[in-house]
């Protein structure tokens, strides 16, 4: 008996977490998937009727806006954060004396709640008393910066705040990557007389491919999950102008009481995440098992 117990302890210890993950992650995904195929409104129904919720979803102009916003936001957020992060990382990698202090400054936004970030930028970008008035005071009297309340541009303010929050983190990732490049290879290149820019473009950056990939994955993941930032910065407005799938899902689930729509939009979000993450995780796990 005790011997049996001794042998089974590892399994017994892991079991509760396993069951929890099975139930609350995979079980819930199945539940949401199931409900997305029903006519559920305020209360869930369980008789499957097919893809009508998805038809409704794709017909909805609000969802359309949310998806195109996700695309605009996602692309700009990822590209700008990566470029900015990489630029700062390379500049910081030049044996800067106060590197520690600067790194701390660049990275602190990552410790903040997106609600705090949103609140701060909402104030800075507000057209009445924010940046616009500062520029006007400085003599640029025709300077106009009303993106926050302009439906065509409001989504770009989300990009501004998002980049501010995440680019320092990308910098930290890249900096670690730059530091992990084999020193001897760089020395060999120096001895060969290869100019510094060439060393970066031909040797260092290509060897950082895995870091680019993981930075991309993290940022893409952040973009798709983005919810807090939009809520705090624009509240999804003006109108639905800055709606993202995450805010759409929340609104339909908790304000509109349309569970079927909420479930189908959540499923679409998950598919988008998985389309990006699954190939990556798969290759990671395979590389590890080899």
């Amino acid at each position: 008996m005790t011997k049996w117990f001794e042998k089974q302890i590892p399994k017994i210890v892991l079991a509760p977490s396993f069951i929890a993950i099975l139930l609350f992650v995979y079980g819930f995904i199945v539940w949401t998937g199931w409900v997305s195929l029903t006519r559920s409104r305020l209360l869930p129904k369980y008789d499957i009727v097919g893809f009508i919720q998805y038809d409704r979803l794709f017909d909805s102009p609000r969802w359309d806006t949310a998806m195109s916003n996700l695309f605009i936001f996602g692309v700009l957020f990822i590209v700008i954060s990566m470029l900015l992060g990489l630029l700062i990382a390379i500049l910081l990698d030049q044996k800067i004396r106060v590197e520690g202090v600067l790194r701390t400054i660049y990275l602190y936004p990552m410790a903040l709640s997106l609600i705090v970030t949103g609140t701060a930028w909402k104030w800075i970008l507000n057209p009445g008393l924010g940046i616009q008035s500062v520029m006007n005071d400085w003599g640029f009297e025709n300077f106009k910066f009303d993106w926050l309340i302009n439906p065509d541009y409001a989504i770009y303010t989300v990009v501004i705040a998002g980049v501010w929050q995440a680019s320092g983190f990308v910098m930290a990732l890249f900096l670690a990557g730059l530091r992990s490049v084999d020193d001897e290879v760089i020395k060999a290149a120096r001895v060969d007389g290869i100019p510094t820019t060439r060393i970066y473009t031909a040797i260092i950056l290509p060897s950082m491919a895995p870091i680019f990939l993981s930075a991309f994955i993290v940022l893409a993941h952040l973009a798709i999950k983005s919810f807090d930032l939009v809520i705090a910065l624009t509240g999804g407005g003006p109108g639905y102008a800055t709606d993202l799938p995450a805010t759409y899902m929340y609104a339909l689930a908790f304000s509109r009481g349309d569970i079927g729509q909420a479930a189908s939009s959540a499923m679409v979000m998950m598919m988008v995440v998985f389309a990006i993450v699954v190939p990556y995780l798969y290759s990671e796990l395979r590389a590890k098992n080899d």
């Binding site: 903040l112 995450a246 990671e284």
Partner: protein
């Protein structure tokens, strides 16, 4: 043109160029630093100004008359909807919520990581992969069923309910952290202890736990930041009295009643950000380690 094969100024110019390059490098880096610091600066100065000064002055100017009125309003009087008790009760909620949630998820992660790294059994790697995948799901996909389950468990709108949610969805990361740490410890250590007669619990308690301080710090900081800064679960699964501070902050900022008090908003934002900022300043090294470790996989 000078013939710089004889005249050494050619080299001097080179050195001068080097110095100029160096200075512009520092200049650029400082400009970036200003960019990252600017919102914090604006938040801080705005929170110390009177509403009058905000309206007449400039966003970037220092306060003429420093006043802490906005801070005390944010802390104890600001309205989060119908109630006007400031952030204080919600700040307290967040503390009550994050301490047990962090402790429980860290402990579970440590045990899981120990099993997965050192006591592999058939299927343990599969379980780990399932947990890893779980880290990546957009939480929107679990909101609806979780709301129902919390209702069934009679935990809807309660702090224990929120703790439960944070623990469940934190396990993936805490397990990952500990597993990656314990996997670097040679398996021979467990073998030696087995030959010495120690069992699963004894080996964990006497050998692995004393080794774990760094990873415990990383995990606790990561979990604390995640849970303190969470908004989605907070706004979905709490009700008027049990909201965490992020939700309360958002309500203060977006409450439509009365005059817009920007100074109060900023003070409230700083208060809500204070604990995680403090952790970052005190233990930044561990914070970054968690961030990069978590990011490589999550």
């Amino acid at each position: 043109m000078t013939d710089f094969s004889i005249n050494p100024t050619g080299r001097k110019q080179g050195r001068f160029g080097q110095i100029a390059l160096r200075w512009s490098l520092y200049l650029i880096l400082c400009l970036f630093a200003l960019y990252y610091l600017m919102p914090l600066f604006v938040m801080l100065t705005t929170s110390l100004k009177s509403l009058e000064e905000i309206r007449t002055g400039s966003l970037l100017s220092l306060p003429r008359n420093i006043t802490f009125e906005a801070w005390s309003t944010a802390w104890s009087k600001a309205c989060t909807g119908i109630q006007c008790e400031g952030l204080r009760p919600y700040f307290w909620n967040s503390i009550l919520l994050s301490i047990p949630a962090v402790a429980i998820s860290t402990l579970i992660g440590a045990l899981n990581g120990y099993v997965i790294a050192q006591w592999k059994f058939k299927g343990s790697n599969l379980i780990f992969s399932l947990m890893l995948f779980g880290c990546f799901i957009p939480f929107q996909v679990v909101l609806l069923p979780m709301a129902r389950v919390l209702g069934i468990l009679d935990l809807a709108g309660t702090i224990p309910g929120l703790i439960f949610v944070h623990v469940v969805y934190g396990i993936g990361f805490t397990t990952l952290f500990f597993r990656n740490y314990y996997v670097t410890i040679p398996q021979e250590l467990v073998k030696a202890a087995k030959v010495d007669g120690a069992g699963f619990v004894r080996i964990f308690w006497s050998i692995f736990l004393p080794l774990s301080l760094p990873i415990v710090v990383v995990t606790v900081i990561w979990q604390f930041t995640q849970i303190w800064n969470d908004f989605l679960f907070g706004v979905s699964f709490s009700q008027a009295g049990t909201q965490p501070v992020t939700v309360a902050l958002n309500n203060i900022v977006n409450s439509t009643t009365g005059v817009k008090e920007y100074n109060v908003d900023m003070a409230a934002a700083i208060i809500a950000a204070m604990p995680t900022l403090l952790v970052y300043v005190v233990a930044g090294k561990y914070f970054i380690r968690g961030l990069t470790a978590g990011s490589v996989k999550g």
